[in-house]
């Protein structure tokens, strides 16, 4: 790599296959991205587009029957494609931390917060309980939990959802990871708490100089924290680029459809209807051909059925997978943010 960027994670052509009763399911069909230290990549897409599976694939936490393939899966310069469970366990929790969607059920109800925070430190760092405890208090304080010392003795059921998610974040940070993967970290929380948690994540990411992969379906979140955006549809990337480029000028009809779904302060008029993307995500079982978005796309033609899903890359790195030329979609439905 010519740039000085310190690349933490490189994923090239990641594919996941899961055998189901109807045949072979292809939930992820060739995803590529990289994230560097201090950078936030947002993976956006609706439910079932494969974004959560992508994150689990990186962590090596896919269900046993899922088959993961990739042309490249490098973490901190090491190829982790053939890492076994023992080798992956040495990366998870230390070098890569993960924050899940469900703070209410992601903590073990039987152990105190302190126990669950300390165990990850004790497992990976050669240290004693006292140091682990200090680290836990430091991080609880860091994630904005007051009287951290006394919280250590509390059980998850004594905390609210927002607090639990803060604990989950602190837990992911215990060993100072290089990469943090947050899978819809705010989806299960109250709207007011969502913003707080998001600010917290962004702040911690720059404080600890980590690479962050943030998985979400909320474009409002993306606009606020992302450096790079990757829009996923039906297991593939349909559009990617840096945050401004994608928001200013979405080139794929799906991205522009998503952008029309959210109100913009100052631009959306009272009483104006927000957009929708009609239809549902396609079934990804068996052999798939052509553009998978064609059934929901207002620009679709017969050509789209045959289309190879190869991205068009513009000079600023902004890439999209559609037969339309960059200005063909405008001005009728172009980006409005």
């Amino acid at each position: 790599m010519s740039e000085k960027k310190d690349v933490v994670l490189e994923v090239d052509n990641l594919r996941i296959d899961i055998p189901v009763s109807a045949g072979l399911l292809h939930p992820v069909r060739g995803i590529s991205f990289d994230v560097s230290r201090g950078e936030t990549l947002c993976i956006v897409g609706e439910s079932g587009c494969g974004k959560s599976l992508t994150s689990l694939a990186i962590m090596g936490l896919l269900p046993k029957n899922a088959d993961r393939q990739a042309d490249r899966l490098n973490f901190l310069g090491k190829d982790i494609r053939d890492f076994d469970e023992r080798q992956m366990a040495k990366l998870r929790g230390v070098k890569m931390g993960m924050i899940f969607q469900e703070p209410m059920t992601s903590l073990n109800p039987s152990y105190t917060i302190g126990n669950q925070l300390e165990e990850v430190y004790l497992r990976h760092m050669s240290s004693n309980r006292l140091e682990a405890r200090e680290r836990a208090i430091f991080l609880l304080d860091k994630v904005g939990i007051s009287s951290a010392g006394s919280r250590l003795g509390q059980y998850p059921h004594q905390l609210s959802g927002g607090l639990r998610q803060r604990v989950m974040i602190a837990m992911a940070l215990m060993c100072g990871p290089d990469l943090i993967i947050a899978d819809e970290p705010t989806t299960a929380l109250d709207v007011t708490i969502q913003a707080q948690i998001l600010h917290l994540l962004a702040e911690l990411q720059s404080d600890f100089d980590m690479a962050m992969v943030l998985i979400t379906h909320d474009l409002g979140i993306v606009a606020r924290v992302a450096d790079k955006v990757q829009v996923m549809y039906a297991g593939r990337t349909v559009e990617e680029g840096n945050c401004e480029a994608v928001f200013d000028k979405p080139l794929h009809p799906y991205t522009s459809g998503l952008l029309r779904c959210i109100p913009v302060p100052g631009k959306t008029q009272p009483g104006e209807k927000l957009g929708t993307v009609p239809g549902v995500v396609p079934n990804l079982v068996g052999d798939l051909n052509g553009c998978m978005f064609r059934n929901r796309c207002e620009f679709a033609t017969d050509e789209c059925k045959e289309l190879a899903e190869t991205p068009t890359v513009l000079e600023n790195g902004h890439a999209y997978t559609c037969r339309l030329k960059p200005d063909e979609m405008e001005p009728s439905t172009g980006g409005r943010l």
């Binding site: 899940f100 059920t105 992601s106 165990e119």
Partner: protein, 305 residues
């Protein structure tokens, strides 16, 4: 936790009181005890005399209070048949029954928890099928038949184990297996079901994402949560084994409480029956209390509900 413990103890005490009342009244309703004591050839005057002597002519409430207050002091009266103090008859035999029940439940747990866990780790694998096979056999085989088969095989053919009596530890091997095996299927299937559910839970995924060792994920994070219903069931089974080992005690000629209660029932030996029922009811109540407290320790949410 302290408030919860106190609450459970008060409830347990109330249950015991109700049980004592039921025990007392039921055995009085079932037959006229004076008739039993006096014997079949007794005249009406004899029966009336016995009734007076034992206080059966008094109001039931008064009899109950007298009986209970003596029972609380450890005096359950004398056996009608053996004329010996009930307490002595029971205390001489309870050790055998307790030993057998304890060994049997430990045997059942030692078999069922690891096997249930292994089965849950790989559902529908060879191990799972094997565990299921063991469970089906345990459920289907009548205890007495299984015990007799063991006696023929290990006692008669191979002559490895003694088949009758309770003088050495070797005497307890076959009774323990026969009694414990009966409890194994339920405990194992419950462990398996609990583990399968827990292993797919979010917090197990979290534990894996933390890079914890498989041992820690399985035993620290999963088993503790999966075991909670097993603890409650094991307590019930233990109570059942103490009171329900009549068949096993008879087959292996272990003269424990089960054997005594069978004998006492046949003879309508009321004080013995009452004492045994009360003691086993107390065991049940105490075991349930202990399992509740253990569960509250395992899952701190329980003491909040």
């Amino acid at each position: 936790m302290l408030a919860y413990t106190l609450k459970r103890i008060v409830v347990a005490f109330l249950i015991l009181l109700v049980v004592s009342g039921l025990t007392f009244s039921l055995s009085h309703l079932s037959a006229d005890p004076a008739l039993t004591i006096a014997g079949e050839q007794a005249s009406d005057e004899d029966i009336e005399a016995v009734r007076k002597l034992y206080g059966f002519d008094r109001p039931v409430i008064e009899q109950y209070v007298n009986w209970l207050s003596r029972a609380l002091q450890g005096d359950f009266g004398k056996s009608y048949h053996y004329k010996a103090p009930v307490v002595e008859m029971i205390s001489g035999r309870i050790g055998t029954t307790m030993t057998l029940g304890f060994l049997a439940i430990v045997f059942a747990l030692v078999i069922s928890i690891p096997l249930g866990t292994l089965a849950a780790m790989r559902p529908n694998s060879i191990i799972d099928r094997f565990a299921l096979l063991i469970a089906v056999f345990g459920q289907a085989l009548p205890t007495f038949w299984f015990a007799l088969m063991m006696i023929i095989l290990f006692g008669v053919w191979f002559r490895w184990l003694p088949i009758s009596g309770n003088t050495t530890w070797a005497h307890f091997v076959m009774p323990t297996i026969a009694l414990g095996y009966y409890a194994t299927p339920a405990l194992m299937r419950l462990t398996r079901a609990g583990m399968i559910e827990v292993l797919s839970s979010d917090y197990i995924r979290t534990a894996k994402a933390k890079g914890l060792s498989p041992v820690s994920v399985l035993f620290k994070h999963a088993l503790r949560n999966a075991i909670i219903p097993v603890v409650a069931l094991a307590a019930v089974w233990f109570g059942f084994m103490l009171g329900g080992s009549i068949v096993i005690e008879t087959i292996f000629n272990l003269k424990g409480i089960g054997w005594l209660s069978y004998d006492a029932l046949l003879r309508s030996d009321l004080p013995v029956v009452q004492a045994i029922v009360l003691i086993f009811a107390s065991f049940y109540v105490i075991l349930t209390l202990l399992s509740d407290l253990l569960n509250a320790y395992l899952d701190p949410r329980i003491s909040v509900r």
